[in-house]
Amino acid sequence: MLEFDKVMLELYGFLAAWCAARSIPLIWLDLTVMIIAGLIMIGVLSLAALFLVWWERKVSAHLQDRLGPMRTGTHGVLQTLADGIKLLQKEDIVPSAADKRVYFWAPVVAFVAAYLAYIVIPFGKGLIARDLNIGILYIIAITSFTVISLLMAGWASNNKYALLGGMRSAAQIVSYEVPLTISVLGAVMLAGSLSMVDIVEAQGPYFWKWYWLPQILGFGIYFISATAEANRTPFDLPEAEQELVAGFNVEYSGMKFAMFFLAEFVNMFTISAIATTLFLGGWQPPLPGLAFIPSWIWFMGKTLFLVFVLMWFRWTYPRLRVDQLMNFAWKFLLPLAFLNLILTGLGVYFFG
C-alpha cells in the first residue's frame, strides 16, 4: 500500500535518466538527494521529538491521575509548539565566568549527536538513509558523543552543580556503554552482520523468530543500559532535580536549553528504535499475513511502544544513587552481558 522502497527507486531512476539526458554528472543528483533526505530526516525527527514531549506529559499526567496539557489544541497537542516558541523568545543567558565557546557548542554537540544516529536506522522497507555495513558500530560510536556534550556543558557553565552533573554523566554513560555494547553483540552474532538492514531481514516476519526470544537477556540488558545512556529515570542522575537542581543544564536558558531537551527526547526515540531493530524485528510484521500494513507503521508502532515503556519507568521508579548506579553496571549488568555473549556463542556454534 504505502511502501516507499519501490517508489523511491523508481523516482531515483527517473531523476537519473533526467540527469543523463542533460549530461549532468550523477554526483550532483546524489548530493541533492542526500541533502533533501537529511532535511526531511531532521524535520521528521524534530516533529517526533515535539510529539514525544507532548506524549510524555500526557502519559505522566494519566499515570498520575491528572489531565496534563488541555488548553492548546485538542488535548493540548500544540503545547510543545507553544513552549518552543516561548523558549525561542527567552533571553539567552551566558554566565559571565563561563567558558563561552565550550558553553555555546555543548548543546550543538548534543543535538547533532542525537540526530546523526538516524542515518543507519531502517524506518521501513528501504527507508534508510545509508545502509552502512558497520551500522550498529556506527550507532554505538555516535551515541557516545552525548557524554562529551554533557561534560562540556557541565564544565563550561562554571557552576558546581553543573560540574557535578557533568561528572556524573561522564561516569554513568561510559560505564553503561560497556554492557550495552556487549548486549548488542548477541543480536549481531545471531544475524551474522553489523548492518542494520541485514539484522532486520535475518529476523523474518514471525514474531517468535525475532531476537527478543533467544536474546531475552540481551534485550533486557540493552534496554536497561540504554535507559541509563539516555539519562532517563531511574538513571537520571546527571540532571537529578532534587540533588543538583538541574545538573549539567542548570545555567542554560532559552533555545540552548531547548536543544538539550529535544536531544534528550530524540535519544529516547533512538534507543527505542535500536531496540526495535535489533530485538523486535524492526519493520517486519509479526506475522506474514499482516504485511499489508506498511512496514514503517510496524516500525513506528514498536518503537513508540518501547518509548511508552521508558516513560512508564520514569513515572514509577525512584532514582538510584551514584554508587548503586555504578555497582549495577559493573557488578550486575556486565557479568550478565558476558554470560549472554557466551551463551549466544555456544548456541550459534551448536545450533547455528
Binding site: 498520575q64 491521575d65 564544565w155 562554571n158 558546581k160 557535578l164 532534587q242 521508579y317 525512584p318 544513587r321
Partner: protein
C-alpha cells in the same frame, strides 16, 4: 603565596598546560545548597563541604523565615494570637491551634465541652494525615519518584475539602479556639469523613505497593542516615524521627491530653533509625490515625455546645505553664508566662522541627549528596516551624 581557588577553567586548557598545571589536583569544595533549592523544603540553607559526591561537613543556616511570632504573642491577647499559631506550621495548623488552646486552658483552668474535645481529636488526626501526605509526597519526590507526590496531594485534597466544609479554610484553619472549637461540624461531615477513611486505607496500601518493597527505594533508604537513640535524645528529636530510632515517645501516650486516653491505638516504632524506619513509622501512623478518627466519630457525644462561655477579654491568673501535644512532626509545646494581664508576658514555642533538623548534620556526614536529600526528606522538617 596565594593558592589557586576552585576555578574549573583557570587558564587556557591545553594538553601542555594540563601536564604542567600545578592547579590540577583534588580539592574539597563548598556548595551552597539553598535557600532556593528544590529539595530544601522551603528556605533552609546548607553549606556543604564536598569531596566529589561525598559530604565532608555541612552547616545548616536557618532564619530565612523568621517572623518573630513569639514576640508578636506578647502584643496580642490570648484569643488574638490564635491565628498566628496557624502560621507556625502551615502544613499542620490544627495541632498548632490545639497546642496553644490547651496551654491557655491549662493556665486559666478552662473547661472544654466533651463534643469539642472529640472534634479536636478528629481534626488534629485528619491534619496529621494531611501533613504526613505532604511528607510522603515530598520525600518520594526527593528520591526521584514523582508519581507518589501527586497521589498524596490527591488524597490531601479530600481532607482539605473536609476542613473547608467545617471551617471555611483550606490551609490556616483557625478552627480550634480557646475553650472549644469555632463551630460544630456540618451534617454531611461524618459521612464524607467515613468515606474518606475507607478509601484512604486502600490508598495507603497503594503507596506501600509503589514504594515500600521497591528495590531502588530500599537501596536508597535502608541503612541510610542511621540516627542512634542516644544522639536523637541529645539533639531533642521527637515525633516520628525519634520513634524511628526504636523509642516509643509519643505525647498522646506518655502524657495524654484532650481525650486521647479513651482511644485504642498503637505507637509504631522503627528498629534501626534509618530513613526506611522513619518512612515506615509514618506510613503506619496513617493507619493509626484512621483508627483514632473512626473511634472518635463513633464516640462523638451529642450536644450543641462546642465552645464554653468565656469572658470577652481573657485574663488568666498570674503564673506560668508549659503544655505540649504530639504534632505530626513531633512534640509541640507552648511555655506561657502570665502576669494576670490580658496579654501573655512571655511565650516560648517548642517546635519539633528545630530538634529534628539538628539530626541532619550528624546523620549525613560522610554520605553522598543524594543521601542528604533522602535524610532531609525523612526528617520531615518544615522551615516556618524552625524559624517561627
Amino acid at each position: 603565596m596565594d593558592r589557586p581557588r576552585f576555578r574549573p577553567h583557570a587558564g587556557k586548557i591545553t594538553v601542555d598546560n594540563m601536564i604542567e598545571n600545578k592547579d590540577l589536583r583534588e580539592e574539597e569544595f563548598l556548595i551552597n545548597m539553598g535557600p532556593q533549592h528544590p529539595s530544601t523544603h522551603g528556605v533552609l540553607r546548607l553549606i556543604l563541604k564536598m569531596e566529589g559526591e561525598f559530604i565532608r561537613d555541612l552547616t545548616p543556616y536557618v532564619g530565612y523565615l523568621h517572623r518573630s511570632i513569639e514576640k508578636i504573642a506578647e502584643n496580642r491577647t490570648y484569643n488574638q494570637f490564635m491565628p498566628f499559631t496557624d502560621r507556625i506550621d502551615y502544613c499542620a495548623s490544627m495541632p498548632s491551634n490545639l497546642a496553644w488552646a490547651t496551654a491557655v486552658e491549662k493556665l486559666a483552668a478552662i473547661e472544654v465541652p466533651e463534643r469539642a474535645e472529640y472534634l479536636r481529636v478528629i481534626m488534629v488526626e485528619l491534619n496529621r494525615i494531611a501533613s504526613h501526605l505532604i511528607w510522603l509526597g515530598t520525600m518520594s519526590l526527593d528520591l526521584g519518584a514523582v508519581t507518589p507526590f501527586l497521589y498524596a496531594f490527591r488524597e490531601r485534597e479530600w481532607i482539605l475539602d473536609l476542613f473547608e466544609m467545617t471551617c471555611g479554610q483550606r490551609l490556616t484553619y483557625h478552627y480550634i479556639r480557646i475553650g472549644g472549637v469555632a463551630r460544630d461540624i456540618p451534617v454531611e461531615f461524618e459521612k464524607s469523613c467515613r468515606a474518606f477513611i475507607k478509601d484512604f486505607r486502600r490508598r495507603v496500601d497503594d503507596y506501600e505497593a509503589i514504594l515500600t518493597e521497591n528495590p531502588i527505594f530500599l537501596g536508597r533508604t535502608k541503612d541510610i542516615g542511621i540516627l542512634p537513640l542516644d544522639l536523637a535524645k541529645d539533639l531533642g528529636a521527637s515525633g516520628p524521627t525519634i520513634r524511628g530510632s526504636n523509642y516509643g515517645w509519643d505525647i498522646r501516650k506518655v502524657e495524654p491530653y484532650s481525650v486521647y486516653d479513651r482511644f485504642d491505638f498503637q505507637i509504631p516504632i522503627g528498629a534501626n533509625g534509618d530513613v526506611w524506619d522513619r518512612y515506615m513509622v509514618r506510613i503506619e501512623e496513617f493507619r493509626q490515625s484512621c483508627k483514632i478518627i473512626e473511634q472518635a466519630l463513633d464516640g462523638l457525644p451529642e450536644g450543641d455546645t462546642v465552645r464554653s462561655k468565656l469572658p470577652t477579654v481573657l485574663r488568666p491568673p498570674a503564673g506560668e505553664v508549659f503544655s505540649r501535644i504530639e504534632a505530626p512532626r513531633g512534640e509541640m509545646g507552648y511555655y506561657i508566662v502570665s502576669n494576670g494581664d490580658k496579654k501573655p508576658f512571655r511565650v516560648k514555642i517548642r517546635t519539633a522541627s528545630y530538634g529534628n533538623l539538628q539530626c541532619l548534620r550528624p546523620t549525613s556526614i560522610g554520605l553522598k549528596i543524594a543521601d542528604l536529600v533522602a535524610i532531609f526528606g525523612s526528617l520531615d522538617v518544615i522551615l516556618p516551624e524552625v524559624d517561627r
